[in-house]
Symmetry: C2
DNA sequence: CGCTTATATAAGTCAACACTTACGGATAGC
DNA sequence: GCTATCCGTAAGTGTTGACTTATATAAGCG
């Protein structure tokens, strides 16, 4: 499942936005989301589950409460999908400089070196972000 | 409709990827997509319509063919959603340099007027690098 | 002028998924 | 212990939207 599939939902995007400044309890998130979107508490809880299971959020128990935080890893993957399109709106600048600024050089190199297929499920082979290298 | 709602579909994302190097005919796109995703020609045509109507693609007639191109505007909007999260994975670097690299200085300046809310809880002022990576 | 190619639209089907109500297991507080 | 709060899961419903087949329109081509 691609990161952008998860982010293709306004409620989930909003939850992540609410978490950008630090952890929040499920209840606090719920109250905001319920008021903004007019949905029930279980609906919010189900979105939280999706975010957990897809790796976008982590939970930490605090008494009866659950404190949610952003895990940036899949977010960065979603953002990386835009890499090939950035030349359309980013000023040209130095390509290396851009790579450095995005902090993805090591990643790119690693991916280039190890082009072996991994052990994941039988998903569509072209879906990755490295096909243009 | 948010740009990321449109991008929450692997077929549409793949079509845009195929357009990154320049215009392609609906037929050429269709053949690739059909072979990769196993869907019919009308299905591809319907995705193309969504991309057209949401502004991600523009069309130019060429005889009986339709040549599709990327319109980067909504793509840039989708990418901009990640702005607030980039501090999680971008190296500190020079903030100005980063802004320049992203080509969004004017935008940011406009937004800076309205931002200025206090940050919360446990957050000290380490200019946003990876706290858990 | 038929025939093929290129592409879009119409209409209907079907499954995914976002939602609902109902409920259950913890923890907090009196 | 009793009750309220916090939050998740279960199960069922309904709508969205991605797909199908069938068809239409327009252009190339012999």
């Amino acid at each position: 499942m691609h990161a952008l599939d998860i982010l293709g939902d306004p409620v989930r995007r909003r939850i992540l936005e609410l978490l950008v400044d630090g952890e929040e309890s499920a209840g606090d998130l719920g109250r905001v989301i319920q008021s903004e979107f007019g949905i029930s508490q279980p609906a919010v809880s189900q979105h939280l589950r999706v975010l957990r299971e897809s790796g976008f959020a982590t939970v930490r128990p605090d008494g009866a409460r659950r404190l949610y935080s952003v895990d940036p890893t899949p977010l960065a993957q979603g953002d990386a999908w835009f890499d090939v399109f950035r030349r359309f709106w980013e000023p040209k600048l130095d390509a290396l400089g851009t790579e450095l600024a995005r902090g993805r050089l090591a990643q790119k190199k690693a991916a280039a070196a190890a082009s072996t297929q991994d052990s994941s499920t039988h998903e569509n082979d072209v879906k990755g972000d490295d096909q243009w290298m």
